[in-house]
């Protein structure tokens, strides 16, 4: 059984794409539609990697990211951010949130901007969890 990878994205096209890439590269795929579903899946399935979209309704992507990076029991899970916004903008927004609530939040293990080629996604996953 391959390593478990959870993909969280509100866009069904992205979900089916990432799922297919995961399957084609020997990982066990899990999907979730939003931050809350994602968190449930993480607690139940303990995935080895989370691929996360940031821009989801009600800021659930941002929230999930911060929880993953600040919760002691979840910090060890690597995160790849797969998003429609540029990495610069994402980091800037994280910095703003940090100043707001105090406490530094570490950067993701990898950051990918959509659109991403299947090969590039697979390579990145391999680099992060092998």
């Amino acid at each position: 059984m391959g390593k478990k990878v959870l993909a969280v994205d509100d866009d069904p096209d992205v979900r089916s794409f990432v799922l297919t890439v995961l399957e084609e590269n020997g990982y066990t795929p899990l999907v979730a539609q939003n931050g809350e579903e994602g968190m449930n899946a993480i607690k139940e399935e303990a995935p080895d990697l989370v691929i996360l979209d940031i821009l989801m309704p009600r800021g659930s992507g941002v929230r999930l990211y911060r929880e993953l990076k600040t919760d002691a029991s979840l910090k060890h899970i690597p995160v790849i951010v797969l998003s429609g916004i540029a990495e610069k903008s994402f980091l800037r927004s994280q910095k703003a949130l940090t100043e707001f609530r105090g406490g530094d939040v570490p950067e993701p293990e990898a950051y990918l901007e959509k659109p991403v080629k299947p090969g590039e996604l697979a390579e990145t996953i391999k680099k992060v969890i092998g």
């Binding site: 866009d11 096209d13 992205v14 794409f17 309704p57 959509k114 659109p115």
Partner: protein, 506 residues
């Protein structure tokens, strides 16, 4: 301290008088003849001269005339003897201030002296007063001159063209800026032209008519006008003016002109740059939206490729669905862009509005259910088949219902039971009212303001900003109306009213 000169040829008199006057506090100088008297007078410059009338040599009258000639302010009192009344009168005529009869009595003397002193005082005060008055007048005149000079400079340097006329409409003030605007040199205008020769006809009218009515031409707001210059050129300008009144009657007029050429040029440039900026924003927004569609298509085709490779029908189907979904989005976008950019007449057909509303609800039901949003329908069953444009109804309702779902999806208040209600109501006058109500996030004032006015979307990459713009256009082309109410945190209701025609046989 007053100085008195006593002139008398009788020594005894002089002595007695001197003593008496000195003890009264006067400064006394004496002379025993007319000639001596004049010398002493010139030397001592007394305030008062007390002189005997009859003396050998120069008489008192001669002294009087002499003194009055050289020093008119000096008071001269004549001492007269018995029978000297004619001389006394003559002396008075020559300016003596008084005469006293011999023998000199204290009382008479003191009265005469008192009168003389009073005259001196009054004269002195008058002189002082007059000098003072002259000073005051000079200062006032200077002040007026300065102010007038200042105002002249003011008018000359003004950036506005200033033209003022007298009560006969003849130009009396015409400043350099007015010369620049109208093109005529002052020599041709001041005192020569009337406003009819200079101003645009409608401005002349305003002034001329203004004098007739009780309602005065005072401080008009700026009016834009065209001024015909001397060289035939026509320039845009702004005018404001007033009639000038003095004691209730028109005494003249004043007009201010501003050259608008530069302002108009700047306005044109501003409009151009604003619309260029708006186009830029629009194109960027659309490009972003299309990029998202592209991402969907690329993802879907990869999945299809894998399905083909592996002969996996499920994979094929999933990938193909992605592609189809995005083809649908492109198709909707194209429709919206075309609808937005072209003028369109509604294409009326026989249709069932309630059915169209039902179709729209069915299209979105799955997505709503997946996100715990309940959709309820309240259709007016008295609405049957009518003649109107079904595409307008469908497109508008779909847009509103989709927006309602998004309002619930974006709502931060996750404790709510989200609900959308779609209503149809038949109204008098062959109108159908469509209502789409949600209890989602509602709209802030800034969003409400931009709702129908620009390519504006709150949906990030998911929105084109076209949705409501196209809806509004379709509704208006269908001669209908659209309005909304919204409360942030509570929800929004959109109300469409569309007219229909009774069923036609085509």
């Amino acid at each position: 301290m007053r100085k008195i000169l006593i002139i008398d040829d009788e020594e005894g008199n002089v002595r007695v008088l001197s003593m008496s006057l000195r003890s009264d506090g006067y400064d006394v100088v004496t002379a025993y003849s007319g000639e001596e008297g004049l010398d002493v007078f010139n030397q001592e410059s007394p305030d008062i001269v007390l002189t005997d009338l009859r003396m050998p040599g120069l008489s008192g009258l001669d002294i009087l005339k002499n003194v009055k000639e050289s020093s008119p302010e000096t008071e001269v009192i004549i001492i007269t003897g018995h029978g000297d009344i004619d001389s006394a009168i003559e002396a008075l005529q020559y300016g003596a201030s008084d005469f006293i009869n011999k023998p000199i009595r204290e009382e008479g003397l003191s009265i005469a002296l008192k009168r003389a002193k009073e005259k001196i005082d009054i004269r002195f005060k008058l002189k002082e007063y007059t000098e003072n008055l002259e000073n005051v007048v000079k200062e006032a005149t200077d002040e007026i001159w300065r102010k007038s000079n200042f105002q002249i400079k003011l008018i000359r340097s003004s950036n506005d063209g200033i033209v003022a006329t007298d009560s006969q409409w003849k130009v009396v003030i015409y400043n350099p800026e007015a010369e620049r605007i109208f093109g005529y040199p002052p020599s041709e205008v001041i005192g020569k032209m009337s406003i009819a020769d200079l101003y645009p006809p409608e401005i002349t009218d305003i002034f001329m008519k203004g004098t007739g009515t009780k309602k005065s031409v005072r401080g008009l707001p700026w009016i834009e006008t065209l001024i015909l210059k001397r060289n035939g050129e026509s320039i845009p300008a702004r005018f404001s003016g007033s009639l000038l009144y003095e004691k209730g009657k028109v005494m003249g007029s004043v007009a201010f002109f501003q050259d608008l050429r530069e302002i108009k040029q700047l306005e044109k440039e501003l409009v151009r740059s604003e619309s260029l900026a708006a186009v830029g924003e629009t194109v960027a927004g659309l490009a972003h939206y299309i990029k998202n569609i592209l991402i969907g298509l690329e993802g879907g085709s990869y999945v299809v490729d894998v399905g083909l490779d592996k002969n996996d029908t499920d994979k094929l189907r999933t990938g193909w669905q992605s592609i189809q979904r995005n083809i649908g989005r492109i198709s909707d976008l194209v429709f919206d862009l075309l609808t937005y950019s072209k003028k369109r007449e509604p294409e009326s057909q026989n249709c069932f509005p309630n059915e169209i509303a039902n179709d729209v609800v069915e299209l979105v039901e799955k997505r709503a259910r997946e996100n715990n949003i309940r959709i309820s329908k309240e259709f007016d069953l008295s609405i049957d088949e009518v003649t109107m444009d079904p595409r307008t109804v469908h497109r508008s309702l779909l847009n509103l219902v989709t927006n309602a779902i998004d309002a619930c999806l974006f709502d931060e208040d996750t404790g709510k039971n989200w609900e959308i209600c779609v209503k149809t109501v038949r109204e008098n006058g062959n109108i159908i009212r469509f209502e789409v109500q949600d209890n989602g996030s509602g709209m802030a004032q800034e969003v409400e303001d931009k709702l129908f006015s620009s390519f504006f979307s709150t949906k990030g990459g998911r929105g084109t900003g076209l949705g409501l713009l196209v809806t509004k256009k379709l509704i208006e082309e269908h001669k209908g109306t659209i309005e909304f109410t919204s409360l942030p945190g509570k929800g929004t209701t959109f109300i469409l009213r569309l007219p229909f025609e009774e069923l036609k046989t085509f």
